[in-house]
């Protein structure tokens, strides 16, 4: 019993699941396809219209049938009443026998093969309730009709609908009952309506069939028409998608001269223009990059000569009599160093732009790397009055990275932190999980304004435009760092809040080139500002 119940429940559950699945799929299709939507609405609307029309038509047919029947019945009744009047006149003797003879004459067209049944009654007769033809029960004449006739003046006729019952136990059937009174006699004709009912049923069935076919036909037409419109639209959507994905040579097929063909042609024109413009821009940027690279290279050779000369001047600065000249030599030396690093950075970034940068990956412990980088800037930090706090995990954080590039990133981040740290503590933390390692550098300086988290990585961007270009780095450091991180398949992100300082996080996959899904460290340092980051976690490279 329980098992059966369980089985049933399971079956019901399965059915419910299937139904829900179908419904969900149907809804999804409905949402996604114009065709489905149009066909469905056509189906619904046409079904409603056809149903209303059908009901109206049925009403018309039925009332026409009934009108005809009633008319014929009243004529029959008039005929019968005339016969009764003729036969029975106003004699009163032997009414029973005469009534019987009259009923005999009236019966001729009654019965199962006939059209009607007859019930005749002499209201003055005490011992029997008149005569009925065939199996008709006298109860078939409704009381309301009899009462109506009783109170009506003689010669009046009335009709109503009722149920005809029979003595042989045959099923009662609907019927039209007309009655009239002449003198003391009441005459009723009872017309079974089963023939009419059958006709109506037949008409109704055929109309339902025609309606269904009509609705389906309309739906099919709607489907066909929408298909003709939707398919080119779909093709256009696919083409646009491919175009967006970068396949600029994508074109639509043009057929005919209609609106859709015009759409296709406009699309193709647009695609061609876009392709042309993008090509031009690419060429332009290529030329520019090449130019920068060439300029950097060409500048190198004279710079080396200048450098040698400047070094010599610097070494002999004490020998110049005028201290102003010595000072100029010192200035020349420092600016030359700056120029050199700028040139190196330019070369590096032009290498990245040209796609010439390669990854020279080896497996390293990120902790060692961080320690060495921190050691390198320890002196600078002390000069600035900042203390570097390290938060390193106990176990090794091995990752395949390019040492030179990661060190460059670390140096960039740390120098930035020291320079903007305003003498506050700098926290460097390392984190690792199964797929990735991360290094976060936190300072407590002026922080970043909203939107600056992205701009910091722009080339030659400066937090404070008023600050002289003489201080700080080249303005390309973070850009290069970001390019380096991306070369690893990693992210370099920045967070900052005015007054609360900023944090830079470097996340790298443990295996070089693997896709990065998340970072082991939070971008927003715990306890900083509100929990809601000022800008969404942005993925580098997107």
């Amino acid at each position: 019993m329980d098992r059966a119940k369980r089985l049933v429940r399971r079956g019901l559950g399965a059915v419910r699941r299937v139904v829900r699945g179908v419904a969900r799929r149907g809804y999804k299709r409905w949402r996604r396809s114009i065709q489905v939507r149009i066909v469905t609405s056509t189906l619904c609307i046409s079904a409603i219209v056809v149903a209303i029309l059908g009901a109206f038509l049925m009403q018309q047919v039925s009332s026409a049938l009934m009108d005809g029947k009633v008319k014929a019945a009243r004529l029959q009744l008039d005929d019968g009443l005339a016969q009764v009047q003729r036969d029975l006149g106003n004699t009163t003797t032997e009414d029973g026998d005469r009534l019987s003879a009259t009923a005999d004459r009236l019966k001729s067209r009654s019965g199962p093969s006939g059209l009607y049944e007859v019930y005749i009654r002499d209201t003055s007769e005490k011992y029997f309730g008149g005569y009925a033809t065939n199996e008709l029960r006298q109860e078939s004449v409704p009381r309301r009709l009899r009462e109506e006739l009783q109170h009506a003046p003689t010669g009046s006729r009335a009709y109503t609908y009722g149920r005809l019952t029979y003595v042989d136990g045959g099923a009662p059937e609907r019927g039209l009952i007309v009655g009239g009174r002449t003198g003391q006699f009441e005459l009723y004709y009872l017309f079974p309506l089963d023939e009419e009912q059958r006709t109506l049923t037949n008409v109704g069935r055929s109309m339902a069939g025609v309606g269904i076919v009509l609705v389906l036909l309309l739906a099919a037409i709607a489907s066909l028409v929408t298909r003709q419109v939707v398919i080119p639209v779909r093709l256009a959507a696919q083409g646009a998608q491919r175009l967006a994905a970068g396949r600029l040579e994508e074109r639509m097929r043009v057929r005919g001269e209609d609106d859709l063909a015009r759409l296709a042609r406009s699309f193709n024109d647009m695609a061609a223009n876009l392709q042309e413009k993008i090509g031009e821009l690419e060429d332009l940027s290529q030329v520019q990059r090449q130019f920068v690279s060439d300029v950097s290279h060409e500048l190198r050779t004279p710079l080396t000569t200048i450098r040698i000369a400047a070094d010599m001047l610097y070494e002999h600065r004490d020998t110049f009599g005028d201290p102003a000249v010595g000072r100029s030599a010192e200035l020349l030396q420092s600016q030359l160093e700056r120029f050199e690093s700028l040139l190196a950075d330019l070369l590096e970034i032009s290498r990245h732009d040209a796609g010439a940068a390669t990854l020279d990956a080896e497996s390293l412990d990120m902790r060692d790397l961080v320690l060495r980088s921190v050691g390198d800037i320890q002196g600078l930090a002390e000069r600035k009055g900042s203390k570097v706090v390290l938060q390193l995990p106990g176990e090794p954080c091995m990752a395949e990275v390019d040492r030179r590039r990661v060190e460059r990133i670390m140096r960039n981040l740390l120098v930035n932190a020291v320079e903007h740290g305003e003498g506050e503590d700098i926290v460097v933390s390392v984190g690792a999980d199964r797929d990735a390692v991360a290094v976060a550098v936190r300072d407590h300086g002026v922080g970043l304004k909203a939107g600056e988290g992205q701009m910091v990585f722009d080339r030659f961007w400066r937090a404070d435009p008023a600050r002289a270009r003489t201080t700080g780095g080249t303005g390309l450091g973070l850009s290069i760092s970001r390019e380096d991180a991306q070369l690893h398949g990693g992210w370099l992100q920045a967070w900052g809040e005015p007054g609360a300082g900023s944090q830079f996080r470097l996340s790298l996959p443990r295996v070089a080139g693997a896709e990065l899904r998340g970072s082991p460290l939070p971008l927003v340092p715990p306890g900083a500002g509100d929990a809601r980051p000022l800008f969404a976690e942005l993925e580098a490279g997107e």
Partner: protein, 619 residues
Amino acid sequence: MTRTLNRTRNRSRAAHPTPPRAPRARHARRVRPALAAAAALTLCAAGCANVPSGGQVITGRPAERAERVDDPYVRLIPVPPRPSWGPEEIVSGFLAASASFDDDHKVAKQYLDVQNSWKPGMRPYVTVLQNRILDPHVVKSSGGEATVRVTGTQLGTISTDGQYTAAPKDLEATFQLARTPQGTWRITNLPGEEKSGLLLTKDDVQRAMHTVNLYFFAPDQRTLVPNGIFLPVVNRETLSARLVRALLAGPTSWLHGAVESAFPEGTGLRGVSIDKDVAVVDLTRQARGGSVERMSAQLAWTLRQMSEIKQFRLRIDGETTAPAGMDATQPVGGWAGNSPDGQNPSQLANQNAYVAGPSRFLGTLAGDHAQPVVTGAAGRLSHPVVAPDYRELAGLNDKGDQVFTAAPVTGAPGVRPLLTAHRGARFTAPSWSRDGTLWTVESKADESWLWVRPRGERPVLAAHWGLGGRQVLAFRVARDSVRAAVIVKLDNRPQVQIGRIAHAQDGSLDVGSFLPVSSEMEDAIDLAWRDYQTFAILGRAKHDSRSLPYLMPVSGAPISSLGVGALGEPRTIAAAPGAPVLIGTRSAEKDSVCRQRTADKSYSEWICPTAAKDPSYPG
């Protein structure tokens, strides 16, 4: 017409386009079929919505118009007793209500005391009265009891097997009534020995009961004999079952011993179901002992009286049984070979009538002329009748006191005297039965004898003759050889009666059980069997001043007059199934044979084109 011409012209232009017009023409050609299709569709749609106003002629055969058992009928609607009615009213109401068979006399039973076990059922015993009883009167009344007497004229009785027996007499019956504790009168005791009998008027019986025929086999084992019974027709649903049950119960007392039933003793009915027009008759297993063919023939002839049954299937104990070489579903119109009218109805239809020609010859009637067949002494016989097998003929002499036979029925055969009457007696016109037996009645004013001459034997007197003390004017054996119709003088009034020929155990003939057929005839001269259920009769109905031809159903249904016009003094009548009725008349000392101008119309006028007398059909 002009439009058609125009279109033709247009088309020809389109078909041979001039060069600059070519594109338009092509366009037109593409559009035109679409327009034409649209127009055709519109026309079709418009046509569909209309009743046809023309078209081909559809022929159909007329529905068979024979009197059916289940023709429309009229039922009396009874009223239940009213509390205020006195004893006389209760009796009147009861008599009226008992004419209604609805729901097994449910309403009539309300007039009875609860202890009364009156149960007329569907095969009741009925006393038939001439008129409605109008004068019930209380003869004795004491407190809570009353005796009511009714008087009327009884016509006859219908026994429980449906057999009507005429028994005219004055009827006097008394009802005992008692007052119930509620103060209403109820009948406690009914009159008559048959405590479940009904007292119905002639009209009631005609309305509530129909005569139906049951068919049984004649002793020749081939011909079926109809056995008319009265059956209440209150309920069509059960009518077929009741009909078959009556058939299984065997012939009524009237035909008992004269006919045989193919159903073995004790065969019962398990049920009759009707599906569309196929009746399935399911018999109990006792029927296995009977011949399927003969049972089917009886059922077919009995069931064909119901209009809704066109075919039937015989089942025995639920198992469908088919006669040898036939389908299990048999048409009710089958088994024509067992017709009561003889074995071959198609041959009967075109048989020739014989007449006694004006110049003393026996001739056949070819058109309106008598064609001589037999001349000489045999041609001079009066009332000549040819045997059904055409091997012999019989006739009387002019005085009618001698019977002669002659053979063969051609040329000038010699006559052989067969019988000579007693002094003062005369013979009726001879009558042949199928097997070549010759029958004739010798009759005086108060005595009669039936002579029977089987073929090749000496004539003998029938051992039992039911009308021995009466004068018989005509004697005709039916084609089934079992029934015989007579015109017999009762109280100086000729009456048509029908009797039956039975063979007693010892082989002796019993011709008797004569019953009056109809009370509508005042006088009768001659009669003939038109078919197995109708007589053609010469006689006077009530209010007639002279004798006229009538058709009289054997069942006792109302007679109908045949033809219109003067006939002179009609003397003999001849009839056969499907053949015109012929009448021999005498007017202005001239004999002539009359027929109807159109034989198949009962109101067609009589014409007498043939100068001859004594027409007859073989048999």
